[in-house]
Amino acid sequence: MSSTLSVAAPNLQIQTVFYNISPGSVDRFLSSVAQASKLAKAAGSIGRVSLAIGDCSPLRTFRLDGIATLEASLLDAGIDDFTYDFFDENLGSAGGHNRLFNRFTSDLVLILNPDIVASPYLIQELTLRLNDSSIGLVEGRQIPIEHPKDYDVFSGQTSWATTACALIPRQVVATVGPFDSASFFLYCDDVDYSWRIRLAGYKVIFHPPARIFHDKRLRADAGLVVGAAEEYYAAEAALLMAHKWSRPDLVTEFLTTLEGGGTELQRKAAAAFRKRRSCGDLPSPVDPDHKVGQFHGNNWARHRW
């Protein structure tokens, strides 16, 4: 029965990881995802939809006695199966999604950030684009602040995809494996995963018509508002990416920059990297011939602006 459904309309697991998310954001996320599922099922784009939520927050986002009510409302709104796992520890984005992969039995997995609102047509659009077995990942487009990374305007191919919204076939997850949560706690787990997908021979596709609203804020100079966590983890991730993707020259350069002119948090990140290196706690380098990895300044793709 399951395989028959897979041929006609693939089953989908939607998964997301919570960390101290506001109730309002949760409502908007769940409502939009359920609606997108409902419309996609009605259009025949997908079969059953499972929604898996992993919670890394210090306290449960959903009270135990409210789960049944929530599940009932989701089932009514367009979701077929619902699970909620309170991890009781902060596993990070990559670690949380890896745990949720354990529940992954569907044909496709849609990884979403919880601070997004899905377009009603999101799932239809993503599955429409996943029309080629060489495609390993289809990424949705974020509004109101579109990511500047470049993509091929004819094929949609791009260097990497954010997992704020990424649709991946089961076969690809089976081939590539889980996120490298040991290396990447909060940032660049998606860059690394995208490059591993490409290293495995698949394409990573950016699909502009598949829209998500991503709740980001702007500074007065139009730059993105970022928190202290990003400052630290982004610095750490940059060093780890350079190391893992066989760019020791950039490791040296980044360390020099961070230790010489970085903020206190960035210097801490550099120190943490050195410690991991001295303990032999770094991932083994891959892509020695630089067929996949792209380093453009501090970016992992050429940017359009």
Partner: protein, 599 residues
């Protein structure tokens, strides 16, 4: 009976002439002059002769015998009858009519004397229905005339023996109350011929600066009154009604946008259906708002039925959390302003924002507006807008759009009124206006303006309401590099003309400027004076320098002339001519040496 308090005479420039005009246009005549006009509370029957001349039979009814005797003396039928709401009044009235056809009823300068006006209107409604839906003309003083409002502001309420504030009046009416009351009793206005005078009988003291036209105070007050509605110069409301269904409405109109269940914000999104892809994104951004206290009116302007269906589908397919907030409002007719004004009329929110079908907003767009409104209610709300260039282009599988460069924030964080007098530095998507601006102050999007209607509304509103702002960047204005937009579809002439029209409109009346303006103007004037002083000093220095240059040039010219003269004299001298062979020999030698070096 001359000298009676209410013995008014008919005249061309009176409210009675207006009544007669409505009688002529609204009451049906029969060839035999049998149709009856029943003048209730007729007094001395000021319109009796006019009615007769128009071919009607006239009957006057009043409690005061003085006027009835006068009517009898003028050969008119008249009966003593007190107007009241009891059943006996209706029966007596029927008895007087006595089966004759009723062309219509008059209630002139009566309503304002009644404590039970709605009930009387109800009795007359019953009577009218029985008599072939006979129309009713009401004529009564308008207490919303400008003169009364201006004097009230100065603490004056001057009752007089007769006139708008006759000291026997017990009811005080303007257009709003009259309309609500008549509709509630089943009377529906079908025509009007209000009697208008710039100066009512309340236009005193004659030297009052608030009343005198031409003073800035009067200009400001008159401007507000005029914008609020058309009755500022109406002395007498003169209206014709036909009987119909009763429409219940509260006599006291406390209606505001703060009514229960009304949202904080109404978002007006106009679309012609040409940009459904970007409209989807606008709607999606609204679905992502952290504050859900809003409604969205998608103003479908001149769209085809198919497009209207698609718009309805876009709205209905939004998630359950927000789909109830979206409504499609079809609007037809020319002009960019038409859908906006239709949206304003349909808005339920306390504030109104305009978000075009290609604008994007951050998740805190509504929240920031609401915070501002809570801190400074009643003001125009302003947030910072980012900008991004966009053009039509292709996505991998379909036509789409292309972004040209990242976000920028070219618009100032602070709102400077004086800068905004010169040009608009506040895109609409960063603004929200109190609904009261439109509802109570009569501000609207000016259909005469081909463009810049948003700037016009902004300046008018800010001058009356003030403005409060947040430094938060909450919206993205997308500027089309190529493709249809107001920038590209209107000529430079249209833009310049609209610019001048907006400024001229503001200049036509005095304006209220915010606190702190005097200091600001002083600073600007001081800067201007300093610049003028500096410029003047520089001009003097320049003139001095130019004079010196001219002198020097004259000297140079004189010297040059003298030199030329000497040169000529020298060439013509004997010594120059004698040494010519020697100079040629010397030139030949130099030429030989230079030629050898070049090789």
């Amino acid at each position: 009976m001359m000298g009676h308090r209410y013995q008014f005479t008919y005249g061309e420039q009176t409210a009675y002439a207006q009544v007669a005009a409505l009688v002529e246009s609204s009451f049906e005549r029969t060839p035999d002059q049998a149709s009856l006009i029943v003048d209730l509370g007729c007094g001395f029957g000021a319109v009796a002769e006019a009615c007769r001349q128009l071919g009607f039979s006239y009957v006057g009814l009043d409690a005061d015998p003085a006027g009835l005797k006068d009517l009898h003396d003028r050969s008119f039928e008249a009966h003593q009858l007190s107007i009241s709401a009891d059943a006996e009044f209706g029966e007596k009235l029927e008895a007087i009519i006595d089966g004759r056809p009723v062309a219509g009823m008059l209630l002139l300068d009566v309503i304002e004397h009644l404590t039970d006006a709605p009930q009387v209107l109800s009795v007359l409604h019953h009577l009218a229905i029985k008599h072939n839906s006979a129309p009713l003309i009401l004529c009564l003083p308008n207490v919303t005339h400008f003169d009364l409002g201006a004097k009230l502001l100065q603490g004056r309420w001057d009752q007089t023996p007769v006139g708008v504030l006759d000291d026997t009046h017990v009811g005080f009416y303007g257009d709003g109350l009259l309309t609500r009351m008549t509709r509630s009793q089943g009377w529906h206005e079908v025509d009007a011929a209000d009697f208008r005078l710039d100066e009512s009988d309340q236009h005193f003291p004659e030297d009052n600066v608030a009343l005198l036209t031409g003073t800035p105070l009067s200009s400001v007050l008159r401007g507000i009154r005029k914008a609020a509605g058309p009755d500022g110069d109406t002395v007498q409301l003169v209206r014709v009604y036909l009987p119909g269904p009763r429409i219940e409405a509260p006599v006291v109109d406390r209606a505001s946008s703060a009514e229960q269940g009304a949202p904080f914000l109404t978002v007006l999104t106009r679309t012609q259906g040409h940009r459904l892809d970007t409209l989807q994104e606008t709607l999606l951004c609204l679905a992502g708002q952290s504050c859900g206290d809003f409604e969205v009116l998608v103003l479908a302007h001149n769209v085809t039925p198919e497009t209207a269906q698609r718009l309805a589908y876009l709205c209905s397919s939004m998630s359950a959390a927000v789909s109830g907030k979206f409504r499609v409002l079809p609007v037809t007719g020319p002009g960019r302003c038409r859908p906006l004004n239709a949206g304003v009329r349909a808005a339920r929110g306390r504030y109104i924002a305009v978000l075009d079908d290609d604008d994007l907003v951050m998740g805190n767009w509504v929240e920031e507006f609401r915070n501002l409104a809570e801190q400074n209610p009643g003001r125009v709300l302003r947030a910072v807008v980012a900008e991004q260039e966009i053009s039509r282009g292709n996505w991998p599988d379909r036509p789409g759009y292309i972004l040209h460069g990242g976000l920028t924030t070219p618009y100032p964080v602070d709102f400077d009124l004086f800068d905004h007098f010169v040009q608009n530095l506040s895109p609409p998507c960063g603004l929200a206006f109190p609904t009261s601006c439109f509802r109570d102050l009569g501000i609207c999007f000016d259909a005469q303006l081909p463009v810049l209607e948003d700037w016009d509304v902004l300046l008018q509103s800010v001058l009356l309401c003030g403005i409060t702002r947040t430094p938060a960047v909450t919206a993205v204005y997308r500027r089309w590099k190529v493709g249809p937009s107001s920038t590209s579809t209107h000529t430079r002439t249209e833009w310049d003309g609209a610019h001048q029209a907006v400024v001229a409109k503001l200049d036509r009346r005095a304006s209220v400027l915010p606190a702190g303006t005097i200091t600001r103007v002083r600073e600007m004037q001081q800067q201007l004076n300093e610049a003028r002083t500096t410029s003047s000093a520089r001009s003097t220095e320049l003139a001095t320098a130019q004079a010196q240059i001219a002198t020097l040039q004259g000297q140079v010219s004189e010297l040059s002339t003298a030199l030329n003269r000497l040169h000529v004299e020298y060439r013509e001298s004997t010594s120059w001519k004698v040494t010519t062979p020697l100079r040629r020999l010397s030139e030949a030698a130099r030429s030989t040496v230079h030629g050898a070096r070049r090789r």
